[in-house]
Assembly symmetry: C2
């Protein structure tokens, strides 16, 4: 049997991932970074969910109309014309309906994975949305209770203890045994959903300098974090820590751990952004389908100027392909325990 036989056999076994990509707020950099990224995945089936006229305008600005014909299909979200770089109601409306359309396509099994371009809180509110971000909207509409955010960049994966978007003072108050234990469980779930069954080494970052230095530099490690790790460990979870936050992310990036539980927003954000400022991808895990996302905002100040960096969107699509194949079966397999 020749190598080409294996090649053919492999292809027939490989499930094609159908990727839905929302264009985000059409007045922001979303359509541009999507256009620049989609061109790099000519062999994949990609559904672009957003306003088609606006997207064609971006293609003209980028002078790349013909290059990506063929590998994408437009799921048009009609709406009033939009001006680049301005916060406007019509843009919020298109952004909102694009997410709704993406969720519907995923629920109807028309797509396997949803990749999202950035939206803006203010324009979503202008459009009358009851949600101001993707995650709340996705969790609510799909009735998902155990949902978490994981960042991935190069070989580093970080899971954020919820709630992520609170003042630092409040994040500290949330460091309780119960919340840390729940976060470890969510990290374990994340690795299962991503299909990393043989690689489930979870590390928990410490809250205080030097991991509290035996209580001299803070008591949360002794009082809450260590007991939570012990409890999870006694239930068979491969988890350790708390490790000083200035070494655990480096250790994970060299392959020692498969995921790090970050106890507050900037802890994990600084670590991932210092590895590669542009390539970090946000994954929402625990929904019935995989959602990946850029980690940047709408960038209204640079929209429509052909200067937006598509690195994060390229990685978001790459990870959607990487993890999208097995996600549904992993979800069904572990959802019994939900």
């Amino acid at each position: 049997m020749t190598p080409s036989f294996y090649c053919r056999a492999y292809r027939s076994l490989m499930k094609v991932v159908r990727i839905g990509v929302t264009l985000g707020d059409p007045a922001g950099v979303g359509p541009e970074v999507v256009a620049k990224s989609v061109a790099l995945f000519p062999d994949d089936k990609i559904y672009l969910i957003g306003n088609k006229d606006n997207f064609l305008k971006i293609l003209q600005i980028l002078k790349m109309k013909n290059e990506i014909q063929g590998n994408w299909e437009s799921i048009d979200v009609p709406g009033a014309p939009v001006e680049f770089g301005i916060k406007q109601k019509s843009a919020g409306e298109i952004a909102l309906r694009s997410i709704e359309a993406g969720i519907r396509l995923a629920q109807d099994k028309e797509i396997d994975v949803l990749v999202t371009a950035p939206v803006n809180k203010e324009t979503l509110i202008m459009a009358g949305s009851m949600y101001v971000d993707h995650e709340t909207m996705l969790s609510s509409i799909t009735h998902s209770e155990k949902v978490c955010t994981v960042f991935e960049v190069d070989s580093l994966r970080v899971m954020f203890m919820p709630p992520k978007h609170v003042p630092l003072k409040d994040a500290i108050a949330h460091v309780t045994e119960e919340n840390v234990f729940t976060s470890i469980s969510l990290a374990e779930m994340s690795l299962q959903l991503l299909g990393l069954r043989g690689r489930r080494k979870i590390a928990v970052a410490a809250l205080n300098p030097h991991a509290g230095d035996g209580g001299l530099l803070g008591k949360e490690e002794l009082e809450w974090i260590e007991p939570a790790i012990k409890k999870a460990s006694s239930q068979g979870v491969e988890v350790s820590g708390p490790y000083p936050a200035d070494s655990v992310f480096h250790r994970a990036s060299t392959g020692e751990f498969d995921i790090v539980v970050s106890l507050y927003h900037d802890q994990g954000h600084i670590a991932t952004k210092m590895i590669d400022f542009y390539k970090t991808v946000s994954l929402t895990l625990g929904l019935p389908f995989l959602r990946t996302s850029v980690d940047h905002g709408t960038g209204f100040d640079i929209a429509g100027k052909n200067i937006a960096n598509p690195a994060s969107m390229i990685e978001a699509i790459r990870l959607a392909k990487k993890y999208g194949v097995g996600y549904e079966s992993n979800y069904l397999a572990i959802s019994k325990g939900f």
Copy 2:
């Protein structure tokens, strides 16, 4: 005039920096990382301050006795023989007396700059020291009141708002207008002491996610940090912020800022360690002489085994040379304002 003329002229103009290097706790990795580093600076005058017998033992273990003969001179600190890898009183005594000797040499102008290898809090206490770290000891003996710690790695410089070694909760409580203003002044002083007169762009990192997002994710930015920046700015300091902590360190590393004020230990630590885990150097600024230091501990578990990584010590000596020449005159020039 030939290039060699300029070469000679340059050398005659260049002040030779006399570098004092303490060997730290002789039972730890200090002597080993110093031995491995000193060999890389064959043209410099280096005074090794520590127990000579112990150092000769390490040279034998490293099989490098002859290689570094000539460029170093021993300032012997006598003491009882020490066993590698064990916390012991005699090691603490040698470590303590080595720092004292280093300070004396710097005060007597026998050396221009002091580089320190790691000491251990517990063995210093065993030895009856009233100080448990370098910085307190150096500040106290030299009667220096305005002293701060700056980390440097590659092109990133971070100044830590004191006190650095406190629980995260307490660090937040220290974020007041007065403390942030003082920190900005210390960052300004640091750049002056390092001779970076034309490059004094100071950035202040935010405390909360998204720099507080206009108060939604924390009020410290609006209440304390912004007023402190405005006050310093109105006094002619080139300072800006607060910037989201997950972007400011990246921006500084690309040259946009010359120093970042970090509001808590792990904020700046995670950033520098993710740039290069082994190369970060700690500088103590505000003493009458420059002190540089490795950023790692005594590593008792790997001491005497020829496996310690000397990268941080090599960088500490390199920065001592880089900044040591002009430090004293910069110190005298600005100490009028102290």
